[in-house]
């Protein structure tokens, strides 16, 4: 595979004549919309598989609702298990999307344009997935609306001092803003789709969702400002959302939770896992949709560097946590010391060391330039990073709760098939959305790529 070529249209097109940009844009439209075309059988197989997983998840959830949360493995003292792990995992995945589109937009990092559409879509779907878990883990999910402050005849409100209510606000704000941001970026592309698509139904649908976009100067003027402001608003939002999620734990008294580094640690972890997920999704997509022309190895290398950076931050957080516990020692704070010794050597040591291997050791290989420019290697690496990040949350939640203060109340948690079924279902749910996205919406931001060529 050749490296980044300035001549994106190939050899048979004359170099840089006055029609270059015009032709480029036409070719770009053609290539991108070629991907958003009739699905292949492989697509249907993938979609059915994803829907099957959703079915398994839904059945598991139904069993749990009918019988009670006891169908899951959670118990005394581990009140949160796989569900909250999944929640934090998916919220984490949701982070790179807005990061890539908003923060990198503000920093004028052009390579973002290769990934932002997919990353934003991933964000929206991951938040939709993550949002399920607070419901799934509720003892009485049929009263989930009590978590929202709505006027009611009982004169009752929610407790705004509870980090869970912060979560409700943070996650729903994040979902709303992400959807708006994604949609705003989409509007001009939908207008293109309305023009290019031939079927009447497609034309109508794309037409409605394009809001009747005509591309006048006035529209672009407001659009630019809106996009800038949304990026500026989304940036602190991204940082806040995972901070709030981390405060679910950091506001607790449990050792292994109650620490001030949690917010930056979680944000870095979220970006780490999010970038890994973008790589997991984009490497095969680039190949299948023949987008090699538009997404270069250089672009992936930049993502890989981001992965390295956040991986190092996360590693640093692990070291700080552990070093503090060891430094205060048994005499200083026996609870914290024993909690971390338990992580290293206790019943769940396998989970801890899996995390270290995946999140600390494996990203270090990216220091080798050859490896970080090898797409297959990147793809392979991204999967253990995702697994490692899942285990990070599992370790924080489960190990801390399994042994907190009172030795009598120590316990050992084992997930059940209901929990695994629902976790599988969440992947099915995410990929169902993602697959539908890949066949309905241009996976590259056509308008933004057009802008680049001028």
């Amino acid at each position: 595979m050749s490296s980044h070529s300035t001549n994106v249209l190939g050899s048979n097109v004359p170099e840089r004549d006055e029609l270059y940009a015009y032709n480029y844009k036409a070719k770009l439209e053609e290539d991108v919309f070629a991907a958003v075309s009739k699905p292949t059988p492989l697509f249907y197989i993938a979609l059915l598989t994803a829907l099957g997983c959703v079915g398994i998840g839904a059945t598991s959830w139904a069993i749990q609702i009918i019988n009670g949360l006891g169908k899951a493995g959670i118990m005394n003292p581990v009140g949160w298990g796989v569900y909250i792990t999944d929640f934090v995992f998916w919220v984490g995945i949701a982070h790179s999307g807005t990061l890539i589109s908003a923060i990198l937009f503000l920093f004028r990092a052009k390579f973002r344009n290769r990934f932002n559409r997919t990353a934003e879509a991933m964000t929206v779907f991951a938040v939709l997935t993550a949002g399920l878990f607070p419901l799934i883990h509720l003892g009485r999910v049929w009263f989930f609306y009590w978590l929202f402050p709505y006027p009611n005849q009982r004169h009752l409100w929610v407790n705004f001092k509870s980090p869970l209510v912060w979560d409700v606000f943070a996650v729903s704000t994040y979902l709303t803003v992400s959807v708006v941001f994604w949609y705003i970026g989409l509007v001009p592309d939908l207008a293109i789709a309305r023009r290019i698509k031939e079927s009447k139904i497609a034309k109508t649908l794309y037409g409605i969702f394009s809001l009747g976009w005509t591309g006048t100067f006035k529209e672009w003027q407001h659009y630019n400002q809106l996009y800038k402001f949304l990026a500026a608003l989304a940036t602190p939002l991204v940082l806040s959302v995972h901070s709030v999620v981390s405060w679910d734990f950091a506001m607790g008294v449990v050792y292994g939770w109650h620490t001030t580094i949690f917010a930056p640690y979680f944000v870095a972890g979220a970006i780490f896992s999010g970038c890994a997920m973008v790589i997991t999704l984009m490497v095969p997509m680039r190949k299948m949709f023949r987008l090699e022309r538009y997404i270069a190895i250089d672009d992936f290398e930049k993502l890989a560097k981001l992965l390295m950076l956040t991986g190092l931050i996360v590693s640093y957080a692990y070291i700080v946590e552990l070093a503090l516990a060891l430094y205060v020692g048994k005499e200083g704070n026996v609870f914290e010391y024993e909690q971390f010794m338990y992580r290293l050597t206790g019943d769940y040591a396998w989970a801890y060391w899996t995390m270290i291997l995946c999140n600390v050791i494996s990203p270090l290989t990216l220091f080798v330039r050859k490896l970080r420019r090898n797409l297959i290697y990147l793809f392979v690496l991204s999967i253990p990073i995702n697994i490692g990040m899942w285990f990070e949350r599992f370790n924080i939640i489960v190990i801390s709760l399994a042994r907190d203060f009172d030795p009598y109340a120590f316990g050992y948690y084992t997930p059940t098939w209901i929990e695994w079924g629902i976790t599988l279902g969440s992947f099915g749910w995410f990929f169902t959305f993602f697959l539908l996205f890949s066949k309905t919406i241009p996976v590259l931001p056509v308008t933004e790529l057009k802008e680049e060529v001028d």
């Binding site: 037409g207 009747g212 100067f217 003027q221 400002q225 602190p236």
Partner: protein, 143 residues
Amino acid sequence: MEFRFTNREQFMEKLENILESGMSPDNMKIVMPNPDHEIEHLVEHYKSPSKLKYFTLVGGLTGCLTGYAFTAWTAIDWQLVTGGKPFFSWPAYTVIAFELTILFGALASFAGLLILGKLPRFSKMLNPENYANEYVIIIEDED
């Protein structure tokens, strides 16, 4: 009068000429395939920039105020002590105020686009002008 260009430089030249001739940008319709900062700068020399920022500002401030006011009011409306904390626990409420600032700011900005850009434009939803990737200047004849 309608001018169509496939080449951006030619279009800009023409546009500059027209604007220099004293014609207000408000009296013409410029269509572009993608946003373009150079063109924006050029036109904004003759035309005020977007007012959308005020939507964002007002939205954000409203969100922030709502956040603090609502949380404080609900805590006072039915006073329940949790964890020995004061009723007005502003550090906790800051999280809510922050999130609402962002939420209201973003939604107001979006509303700003719809209002200022006169969107959605139902007439153009299904039968748009097809300029493809051309640059177009349309001058409504007045004289």
